[in-house]
């Protein structure tokens, strides 16, 4: 039995673990990756002979990772999947964990969910073709595996991280056919308004400016107010990527331009990974700018389920700085709930970080909130696949909505037409389905709700169930 089990070894999970370990509590941290860092600090594997990767612009990452890896009270389990949260008849909470073959349970007095986020899926014609990848995939292959995805690449999205990814790809030797941003670049006024939020986060803007300079030096076409519309491929030929000019509401204006590339890297924002929280019974709230469905919590980051706390992107996607601060505060709150007080200096430091990151995150979220309706509209052609796993098309969903006028929720649509019933457990179609239902019935996306999340939140062999009562 551990005092605390933490799911996810990213900035929030690491910060929380350190606070708890420094308070003398026993901590176990479980992550599917091979090393600590989370998606944001993915680094080369140990076998490549380097300890650290490139963490710019987060200067504090290196120390955080080293302190985390060296603390004797932190036990880590990498390459393991937490597939559910269970409660005994006696009330004891535990994590169901699998290594891909067998199952086991990890009991703890408290649980901190720091499961991060994933690239927000956007369905459009051709998004399932080989070579169409998320920005996170292209970036993590580069940063961690030192694999360059493609010689010729198109980067399309709306999130500022696309500029940083583009610069990283250029510096690694890629040839970028185009960078398409759905928004305008932040204008002078917008920048001026963000200044009050910047203190403490200057390096992030410096990094963005540096990326812009790299892009300019390589003379890559930077297309503003331009949205992905379709990808086609003939045989094993290159991807033919159609990009369309859009207005301020992301509505298409004019005809599409076509670019050829090996790889298309998509980054329209992030979706919080809330499946474990949902499965455990934590309540969610809709927060579009924060990435969609986020986990409800109090000031101590405690959810509605007594033993479960959350930190990081699940409370609203706001970047590594914010996740780090939330991890610190949640860690202190958990320690406090177990009767261990924290050093007042540490508490003040954490609260100060939380406060400064809050302003910054708020501005970033408002500036870069994706236009969900416009993105969902990219799937309006009836042959466009919405659910990658079950290959449910837009037309099948529309037919289901038309034939079943009483069907107005994402969960009901899932049951009726199998969208979301495949192996990704609905992660890659939920947003599109909810937005399409809202458009069909002329209501809000939040009204359409979200899919239920069930155990296992990621598929495990049935054999792993057989071990759960040991």
């Amino acid at each position: 039995m551990h005092d605390v089990a933490i799911v996810g070894a990213g900035p929030a999970g690491m910060a929380g673990a350190l606070q708890l370990a420094r308070a003398g509590l026993s901590v176990v941290v479980i992550d599917e990756q091979a090393r600590a860092g989370g998606q944001i600090f993915r680094r080369p594997p140990e076998e490549f002979g380097v300890r650290h990767g490139q963490y710019r612009p987060y200067g504090w990452a290196r120390d955080l990772i080293e302190d985390f890896e060296e603390h004797p009270l932190i036990e880590t389990r990498f390459r393991q999947t937490v597939f559910g949260i269970l409660r005994d008849p006696e009330g004891q909470i535990s994590l169901a964990v699998s290594d891909g073959q067998r199952g086991t349970r990890i009991k703890a007095r408290r649980v901190l969910l720091a499961t991060g986020a994933y690239d927000m899926p956007v369905a459009f014609p051709g998004w399932t073709l080989p070579g169409v990848m998320t920005a996170g995939a292209v970036q993590s292959l580069l940063k961690s595996q030192k694999l360059l995805a493609g010689r010729q690449i198109v980067v399309a999205g709306s999130h500022p991280i696309q500029l940083i990814l583009a610069a990283q790809l250029l510096e690694a030797g890629a040839d970028l056919a185009a960078i398409a941003l759905a928004r305008d670049l932040p204008g002078f006024l917008e920048m001026a308004r963000t200044l009050p939020a910047i203190p403490g986060n200057v390096s992030i803007f410096t990094e963005a400016l540096r990326a812009m300079a790299v892009i300019a030096r390589h003379r890559v076409p930077l297309l503003r107010r331009t949205l992905i519309s379709a990808v086609e491929q003939t045989g094993e030929g290159p991807l033919r990527i159609s990009l369309r000019k859009v207005d301020a509401q992301w509505r298409p204006v004019g005809t599409a331009r076509e670019f050829e590339a090996d790889v298309l890297a998509l980054g329209y924002g992030f979706t919080p990974s809330t499946e474990l929280a949902r499965q455990a019974g934590c309540a969610l709230s809709w927060h579009s700018a924060g990435g969609g469905w986020t986990v409800q919590h109090d000031d101590n980051f405690r959810t509605g389920v007594q033993e479960i706390f959350v930190a990081g992107e699940q409370t609203g996607v706001a970047g590594a700085g914010r996740a780090h601060a939330e991890g610190l505060v949640a860690g202190q709150a958990i320690a406090h709930s177990l009767g261990v007080g924290a050093d007042p200096l540490e508490v003040n430091r954490a609260q100060a970080l939380l406060k400064s990151s809050e302003r910054f995150a708020g501005v970033m979220q408002t500036m870069f909130e994706p236009n969900r309706t416009a993105l969902a509209d990219l799937s309006h052609h009836s042959a466009t696949v919405i659910c990658r796993c079950e290959e449910i098309t837009s037309g099948q969903l529309e037919d289901a909505l038309t034939c079943n006028p009483f069907l107005t929720s994402a969960s009901a649509a899932k049951l009726e037409c199998r969208t979301g019933m495949g192996v990704c457990q609905g992660r890659y179609c939920e947003g599109t389905v909810a937005a399409r239902i809202a458009m069909h019935h002329n209501t809000q996306i939040a009204q359409a709700g979200h899919f239920n999340a069930h155990l296992p939140v990621k598929p495990v062999p049935l054999g792993a169930y057989g071990d759960l009562d040991h």
Binding site: P44, P45, E47, G100, T128, V138, L148, G173
Partner: protein, 94 residues
């Protein structure tokens, strides 16, 4: 045709495994996804309707990279480190 290639950095010792019966050369520390992409594998598997799939998210959430490893199904290539002699095949049904 995607065009994935390794950057010239130090890697682990050579590791050889098979994919669909053919030998694949890789390096310790690489994931199965990296090794197969670098080997220019055009599809990790096919959907029921016969459409090819390559990794999409590379972070364990989309399952498009799922393969069969030593007889076990639905193994995510992006979260699996290469091991000498492992037998990798496409999934029968996704």
């Amino acid at each position: 045709m995607a065009n994935f290639h390794r950057l010239p950095v130090a890697r682990g010792r050579p590791v050889r495994f098979t994919f669909e019966g053919a030998p694949v050369d890789s390096f310790a520390g690489e994931t199965l996804a990296t090794a197969l992409l670098a080997a220019q594998v055009g599809a990790f598997g096919h959907t029921r309707e016969g459409n090819p799939r390559l990794p999409f998210c590379n972070m364990g959430t989309c399952f498009d990279c799922a393969v069969q490893v030593d007889g076990r199904g639905l193994v995510r290539a992006c979260l699996t480190d290469v091991v000498e002699g492992m037998v990798v095949n496409m999934q029968e049904i996704k």
